[in-house]
């Protein structure tokens, strides 16, 4: 059980990073449906950098930058040029998957260099890793996982305890009110879309570098979309995003687990679980009533100050 949950944490990380990235983007008022695309762009650039330099730091930086670059396209088209967010996001996904297959083509089947693999080896946290149950599940993981934990905490503090967090939440809820209060709208939107895209890129890179340590073009397989659904599931709350990612991480490895326990279910049917579960949470999320659980009120509403 402990081993299963520890593996679930690893499987949860790509989802968690992408979910947090999309959460920041949506909180600041933009609905970027290009998560899948940004994860793919991050994955391929992260992999290429790792393959070329052997440096894990450069790979992660490259993945973050690549995800942010993908998000930059979205930001320019939707924020500055006020294009339709839904279609722009979808296009980013199509673009990203094309980009990843195009750029990654020569790398198919290549593996992650040893130096990078070593970086992502589990590193138990002294003390905490000895706590029964909690230790083996949460604290005998790799550095990336700890970064994930840190992000959940930092983003929670950022959103609810800091001035910039308040300002960006206000943009998502009422852009006009934030603008009239003197908040710099475009700056905040750009910043969060880009940072969010960077996190999606990191999530994708983790898939390519650690989860499947070999390049394959369809490495993300819908996780970006699951992340979009998890944001709704989590009611735009980072802590709940962690819980949701954990749940889906567990679900995605359940198939292996069941098969190894001797259940004879087709791999392909088991593969459907996360997608069916995603639909289930989207349906359940329809029934939210508390004002605080609803999407940001101005999510994906275009804003032009001089609109009359």
């Amino acid at each position: 059980m402990e081993a299963f949950l520890a593996a679930a944490i690893v499987a949860a990380m790509p989802l968690l990073f992408a979910t947090l990235g999309e959460l920041l983007t949506e909180k600041s008022g933009s609905l970027n449906l290009g998560v899948e695309g940004m994860m793919l762009i991050g994955a391929v650039i992260g992999f290429i950098t790792a393959y070329g330099t052997g440096s894990p730091g450069a790979a992660l930086l490259g993945a973050f930058g690549a995800g942010a670059a993908g998000a930059l396209i979205f930001a320019v088209v939707t924020v500055t040029l006020r294009g339709n967010q839904v279609v722009t996001g979808l296009t980013l996904t199509i673009f990203g998957s094309g980009f990843a297959s195009f750029v990654g083509d020569p790398l198919i089947g290549k593996s992650v260099p040893k130096t990078v693999q070593a970086f992502f080896a589990p590193a138990p946290v002294p003390g905490l890793s000895e706590v029964p149950f909690i230790g083996p599940v949460f604290f005998r993981q790799d550095a990336f996982v700890y970064l994930g934990y840190a992000l959940v905490v930092l983003i929670s503090i950022y959103l609810y305890k800091t001035r910039p967090g308040l300002n960006m939440r206000a943009i998502g809820e009422s852009t006009a009110a934030a603008d009239a209060s003197g908040v710099a709208i475009d700056f905040h939107k750009y910043a969060h879309i880009l940072f969010g895209g960077g996190l999606c890129g990191l999530g994708g890179a983790y898939l390519a570098l650690v989860y499947v340590p070999m390049w394959q073009a369809d490495v993300v397989t819908g996780r970006g979309w699951i992340a979009v659904a998890l944001v709704i599931f989590a009611s735009w709350n980072p802590a709940k995003a962690f819980a949701g990612s954990f749940l889906f991480g567990a679900l995605s490895i359940l198939g292996f687990r069941l098969q190894s326990m001797g259940f004879h279910i087709s791999q392909y049917l088991v593969d459907m679980f996360p997608y069916i579960a995603t639909i289930a949470i989207v349906i359940i999320s329809t029934h939210k009533n508390r004002k605080e659980d609803l999407p940001p009120a101005d999510l994906s509403v275009p804003y032009f100050r001089e609109e009359r």
């Binding site: 809820e173 603008d179 100050r305």
Partner: protein, 506 residues
Amino acid sequence: MADDVRPDVPAIEMRGISKAFGSAVANRDIDLTVRYGEIHALLGENGAGKSTLMNMLSGIYRPDSGSIFVGGREAVFAAPRDSIKRGIGMIHQHFKLVDVMTAWENIALGSAGGLLLNRKRISQEITELSDRYGLDIKPDRKVYEMSVGEKQTLEILKVLYRGARILIMDEPTAVLTPQEIGKLFAIIRNMKEQGCAIVIITHKLNEVMEVSDRITVLRRGEAIATVETACVEIPSLIEMMVGRRMDLSIKRPPCEGAEELLRVDGVTVTGKDRKSALDGISFTLHSHEILGVAGVAGSGQKELCETIAGLQAAEKGRIFFEGQNILGKSPRDIIRLGIRMGFIPEDRLGMGLVGSMDIVHNIILKEYQGQKGVVLRRGPSAQKAQRIVERLDILTPSIHTPVSRLSGGNIQKVLLGREIDSDPKVLITAYPVRGLDIGASYRIYDLLNEQKAKGVGIIFIGEDLDVLIELCDRILVLSGGCVTGELDGARASKEEVGFLMTGGAA
């Protein structure tokens, strides 16, 4: 930084300000001077360009030409934050508050300070400030729980918190009861005593006379005159506003031969937030009458209209249309039963019309259900559109122009024209003159009176108590989803209606 207050230097000086939206000129070469320690009224009818002018002062719009001086120094505002920095605060007609946030969060929003938010300190600052100006606010209350009056108080505090010395209020009294208006004026006078410059935008003459020191009148985007309030009379103000001598009283032809058309009996409706939006409402509507409905915004007016029109499900109660219970029937059923009912909803382009479609396709909206077969027939509706355009003098390039391209008054005429054209027996109108200029408003009143003379029973949801009292035969007052009173239009007073609007006896 906000500029130092020097009494000899005007707070605001606007010189030669012009602003156009596309081909429509909103402001043309306007000069305006506002002093510290004065209440300056910006008077003009809807569409005269008052809000546009002030939005340039608050950094929302940028002028096409002209210059602005604040405290004697030139100012160019690229965004609202630039205007805030120069000590200007604007309270918009549609409040710019974040619903899901608390009062203190709204006040802290966009303000300078450290990285971390200190709720305690900000709350304390808010309390001190509200004591000083005699305001009443609970820092931890969420905006969505607040009444309209509370929201306005919050907006004022928000502006004061930023140290604004120049306050602009856009139609601050539009949504308040007479009692609340009294309180607001006391606050404004208090701020004036403390040396603030205050601009209030309004189209209500008696309020201008009551509270302001000086008045600048705008008409069709131009500044007509600036006068001392003490030296001017209402009729000359009207002339400056409208451009001609005009009697602003509204006609109320006597109603004759009234018979019961609609009887609403104990209707209860649960709103989205699970509280009851309507609570056991009962009243009757007769032919040949205009029944006014007064109430603070959000007292159940919307639900009342939509329930009668069949758009909103009710918990219990009955609605009789000439003796037949129509509650629970959909608009489709109502049309099929041959019940002739017209409905002018509050949100014209969001509910009554499709903005991106032309006049013909907006006429079809109410016609196509009656057409047989699968094919959409445009011919008859195009003829009808032409007829309506001619009859109501709708200004439009053609009947194939998207309605969103028309002016507010013409949009309303399309909607009203369509509803009247089907010869309704009952006509429900929600805020039918909101945002219209004086000419268009009086045209609408005339049209309603015409319908009344033909025997139509009209429900008129209104916000301007003067209009309700002058136009309506009877006035129903709603408060918190209950009927708190029913008054005879000819004998009601504003104070009486205002008292009932806030719950009456309770």
